[in-house]
């Protein structure tokens, strides 16, 4: 049981930054920012490239370099999507699809194949728990992410993100450029996705070019579960990604324990999302779930 719990914690911590980023895009700004899938892989590429450029530094410094480079890599993809949407006046959905196309080309160029093994040392690993050597540092990163994320939602930017998702015309009447709000949101969201991408790549020992595929659905599912829990119990909204991801991973682990094959899990995810959407439409009226808003 403890082994299952540790595995669960590890999985939650690996994807927590991604779901926090998804919360900014999907729940606060309410834009279909699927470029997080590209940022996830590009973040990993950025981190690995950065650490190979300065290999002789102390591992702790290299970890910091990797984390920053991963976030920067993710931000680059976010900047790309933001520029397409804001400067090109392209709808967000189309802008994210175009960005994903660009990302694919970039990944092929950077990785040179569908899988790239990481040959250097694992900067997440410590000798404390031999079965889960990365858990301690992952916990540290997870605590830091949540400790920054929850108060961030109360700042000017955090409130602007929420305001944009609820009423984008608000900013026009108050003389604030919406491009600034949206672009910052996308950058932050993709930076967190890039961080997650690095953590997953470092943990698994390779970068998978297709590793980002389906992660938007993961985010949406986790956020829906978190939202449902939030409505039922009531806790700080900043904890929705953490609670949602914990529920999501718990379901996965429970299915594993009863012997299910996880290759069908994506189909199950889709069913969960569909079920929750139908439930929300029936119980809260269609207006609660705008067709562009993904319902989270």
């Amino acid at each position: 049981m403890i082994a299952v719990l540790l595995r669960l914690a590890e999985q939650v911590l690996l994807y927590l930054p991604l779901v926090c980023g998804g919360y900014i895009s999907f729940s606060l700004l309410r834009i279909p920012n699927f470029s997080t899938e590209g940022a996830f892989v590009f973040g990993a590429c950025g981190a690995v490239t950065a650490t190979t450029l300065v290999p002789l530094l102390h591992p702790a410094i290299l970890l910091a370099v990797a984390v920053l480079a991963a976030m920067f890599g993710g931000m680059l993809i976010g900047a790309c999507m933001g520029a397409i949407a804001a400067q090109g006046k392209i709808p967000y959905l189309l802008a994210s699809i175009i960005t994903l196309g660009l990302c694919h080309g970039l990944h092929v160029y950077v990785l040179g194949g569908s899988l790239k093994p990481l040959h250097g040392s694992n900067y997440l690993a410590l000798d404390v728990m031999p079965m889960h050597p990365e858990l301690l540092i992952l916990t540290g990163i997870g605590v830091l992410v949540i400790a920054l994320f929850v108060p961030f939602l109360k700042t000017q930017l955090g409130m602007c993100f929420a305001a944009y998702g609820t009423n984008a015309t608000f900013f026009k009447h108050h003389g604030i450029a919406t491009n600034y709000v949206v672009l910052t949101g996308i950058l932050l969201s993709n930076a967190l996705a890039g961080l997650s991408g690095y953590l997953v790549a470092q943990s698994s020992g390779f970068i998978d070019m297709n590793g980002g595929t389906g992660l938007s659905l993961l985010c949406v599912t986790a956020l829906m579960l978190g939202n449902l829990c939030h409505k039922g119990i009531g806790f700080s909204r900043g904890l929705i990604p953490l609670i949602g991801m914990t529920l999501y991973s718990s379901m996965q682990q429970a299915l594993l324990m009863i012997g299910c094959n996880l290759k069908y899990f994506t189909a199950l995810q889709a069913c969960i999302v569909l079920g929750v959407l139908v439930y929300m439409r029936k119980n809260h009226g269609a207006s609660d779930v705008h067709s562009d808003h993904l319902g989270v």
């Binding site: 109360k154 700042t155 009447h173 003389g175 604030i176």
Partner: protein, 227 residues
């Protein structure tokens, strides 16, 4: 002390002007009504007074507020003149509390990572039964309109433009909003220009003077006439 303007506007280069040296003068710190038929250009006039010029539009002229004179293209005009749209929903966030909305109204004053400071909750809102933790969603039409007006007044404008603030309200709520506007006008020493089609309100709140924007049938130009 006066608010006066002299404005010329064409919607595109080479087009006949929509406004040609449109002039008017209003006493500062008072409440004034502007009426006019639909499509005559009242909302366009309000947009120009805020310094809002759309792409392709050709404008010239100036707006004078007390001793200060601004070219109509001057961005500073937007800081001194604020507008509350007809639909108050456009400036409110339904999912937020009243306190959060008031905080967010001052958002441009603070850097991105600052936690927005609590606002001294306006007594006026308390007197009409709006609590600071009330959800905007739960407010009545009149309360929402007043909240939108108070949010704009927080920016300390010298001139507040209100586009049919009572259009969607019943008689009781319309009177409530107008009474509060008179009070706000005096408390904040702000000049309010109000577009309305409600002759009863004009008779009660500005019996002496009303300005009408009309289209001259001969020339096609707009002019402001006093009643």
């Amino acid at each position: 002390m006066k608010l006066s303007f002299d404005l010329t506007l064409s919607f595109a280069a080479g087009q006949e002007p929509f406004f040609k040296q449109l002039q008017a003068s209003f006493e500062l710190g008072k409440l004034h009504f502007i009426k006019g038929r639909n499509g005559v250009g009242k909302s366009t006039l309000f947009r120009l007074l805020q310094g809002g010029i759309a792409t392709d539009e050709q404008t010239e002229g100036s707006v004078q507020i007390a001793e200060q004179s601004f070219a109509v293209t001057d961005k500073k005009l937007g800081l001194l003149v604020k507008a509350v749209p007809q639909d108050s929903n456009a400036v409110l966030i339904n999912a937020f509390t009243v306190q959060e909305c008031l905080q967010l109204a001052l958002v441009s004053k603070y850097p991105g990572l600052t936690v927005l400071p609590k606002i001294n909750f306006p007594v006026l809102l308390k007197t009409i039964g709006i609590g600071s933790e009330a959800r905007v969603n739960d407010l009545s039409g009149g309360q929402r309109q007043l909240l939108a007006i108070v949010m704009m007044l927080q920016k300390n404008p010298q001139v507040l433009l209100l586009d049919e603030p009572t259009a969607a309200l019943d008689h009781a709520n319309a009177r409530l909003v107008m009474d509060m506007l008179v009070q706000l006008c005096a408390d904040h020493n702000v000049t309010m220009l109000i577009i309305t089609h409600d002759h009863d309100l004009m008779a009660v709140y500005a019996p002496q003077r009303c300005v009408e924007l009309v289209r001259d049938e001969d020339t096609g130009l707009r002019k402001l006439i006093e009643h």
